[in-house]
């Protein structure tokens, strides 16, 4: 899995398809965390929403780089679809982790306050959002959808529904963060449902892609 992750990181790096999403996210973060007087938790709610979009973009971009025939060559070395999809998930998760650390560090420097509780909530929120973005992207990616137009439509619709609609995934957490409501329950809900969504998405996509191959 480490070798696959290294390969996927190299693929993503060479392709430069990460640049638009990462630049957009960094621009968002630079605007959000520019005011030292702003309360930090609502800002984490907004950048967390941005993280869902970034991780979704990175997953779709990564799985689109290899031509389907070349993917079969990689599969002949990796031997299992689950390893292939797992490698892609870990690769994007590494990127999410890096962006989360950048966001946390940036917010700490700009706001000039060390708030361990808020930092912890921000860290967990961003990671949960990243996992959910990967979970949304896997079934919309080239693994299952052959045409990029349908991929974009499917991912956009799902992202809008998941972020804005009042369904008990990450929406209650993001709303609680931005409106200063109690967080404990919705944080646990957000983390649990994000992990569950990723596991379900990973297992379903690995199974379907293997059966369709």
């Amino acid at each position: 899995m480490v070798a696959l992750t290294r390969y996927y990181l190299a693929l993503l790096g060479h392709s430069q398809r990460y640049i638009p999403a990462v630049l957009a996210y960094l621009a968002l973060a630079s605007i959000l965390y520019s005011d030292p007087r702003s309360p930090v938790l609502p800002l984490y709610g907004v950048s967390g929403g941005g993280m869902i979009v970034v991780s979704c973009w990175l997953t779709i971009a990564l799985l689109d780089i290899e031509d389907p025939v070349q993917r079969l060559v990689t599969l002949s070395h990796a031997r299992q679809w689950r390893r292939m999809v797992g490698g892609a998930v870990i690769t994007v998760f590494c990127s999410v982790l890096a962006l989360t650390l950048v966001t946390e560090t940036w917010s700490m420097i700009r706001i000039l306050k060390f708030q361990p509780g808020a930092l912890g909530i921000g860290f967990v929120t961003h990671l949960a959002c990243g996992l959910l973005g990967i979970a949304i992207a896997l079934p919309c990616s080239r693994l299952l959808v052959n045409r990029i137009g349908w991929t974009v439509i499917a991912a956009t619709v799902t992202l809008v529904v998941v972020i804005l609609a009042k369904i008990p995934l990450i929406h209650p957490l993001l709303q609680a963060l931005t409106s200063s409501r109690p967080l404990t329950g919705v944080l646990i809900l957000g983390v649990t449902t994000s992990i569950a969504a990723l596991v379900a998405s990973f297992l379903a996509v690995s199974s379907v892609v293997r059966r369709r191959a």
Binding site: A3, Y7, H14, V69, L72, V73, S76, A78, R211
Partner: protein, 265 residues
């Protein structure tokens, strides 16, 4: 003991027609097996199933040798260099010793050298990288889909050497091609793939007869192995012993004989 044995293997995509049906095949150690067939006959599908990158819809596969797989085209569209790509593939396959990569690329005379980005390579040079990734781990079973296509003449000889070396170390090779001469030159055993079915090896020479006309149902004619019709042009593959009888009937039925030539399976 076979390296890999296929029993009743079939393949269909979704609810469509079977593109591969009832394939029984055993790959013995140290043998080179050639599969001869026209484009679209199901050769690539069969090889993908043997390479375990595609799942059979019916039947079973027994045996799990280490496999090197080269698809019929190697679509190298990445900015990554050839050497870096091969190192990644070797690591993914669990190899620790990567010292074979540079000598292999040198032997294959990769134009642009080992650091050449994959996307800048010509079709033939990309196919060399594809070949390198398939053979570098010295697999027990080497599966090559139309490997001679796109390679220059000097690389044909190197590919022949690689196939021979694989056989000498007791590993097996399965390859496909649509040219009878290529298959017979390289393979120990030849199988024919036709309309998704793997037919028994036929070693007896035959004759190819090209006719122009219409009216006769040649599929029931004794000695006619295969009929291929394109409008008023019909190509028959006929047993050597029945050529005269088939030609006589063709002339009696008003067909024009355009070509009679030897054909080897």
């Amino acid at each position: 003991m076979s390296l890999l044995r296929l029993a009743g293997v079939g393949k269909r995509y979704g609810k469509g027609e079977f593109v591969l049906e009832e394939v029984d095949l055993a790959v013995e150690p140290g043998r080179v097996l050639g599969i001869l067939g026209a484009n679209g006959s199901g050769k690539s599908t069969l090889l993908r199933i043997m390479a375990r990158v595609s799942t059979a819809s019916a039947g079973t596969l027994h045996g799990s040798p280490t496999i090197g797989y080269l698809p019929d085209r190697f679509p190298a569209g990445q900015r990554m260099g050839a050497r870096a790509y091969l190192k990644h593939m070797a690591r993914i396959g669990g190899l620790d010793d990567l010292s074979m990569i540079d000598p292999l690329l040198e032997r294959l005379a990769l134009v642009g050298g080992p650091t050449a980005p994959l996307r800048t390579l010509s079709k033939g040079n990309a196919q060399k990288v594809g070949l390198a990734q398939a053979v570098m781990a010295r697999p027990e079973l080497l599966i090559l889909d139309e490997p001679w296509s796109g390679l220059d003449v000097s690389t044909h000889a190197i590919l022949g050497e690689l196939v021979a070396e694989t056989r000498e170390r007791g590993a097996s090779v399965v390859f496909t091609d649509h040219r009878p001469q290529v298959v017979h030159d390289q393979a120990d055993d030849v199988h024919l793939m036709e309309n998704g079915r793997l037919t028994a090896e036929i070693t007896e020479p035959a004759t190819r007869i090209v006719l122009h006309g219409n009216g006769t149902d040649w599929s029931d004619e004794p000695g006619v192995r295969h009929v291929h019709a394109e409008g008023t042009r019909v190509v028959l593959t006929v047993d050597l012993s029945t050529v005269d009888a088939v030609l006589l009937r063709a002339l009696k039925d008003g067909w024009s004989v355009r070509e009679v030539a030897p054909w080897s399976p």
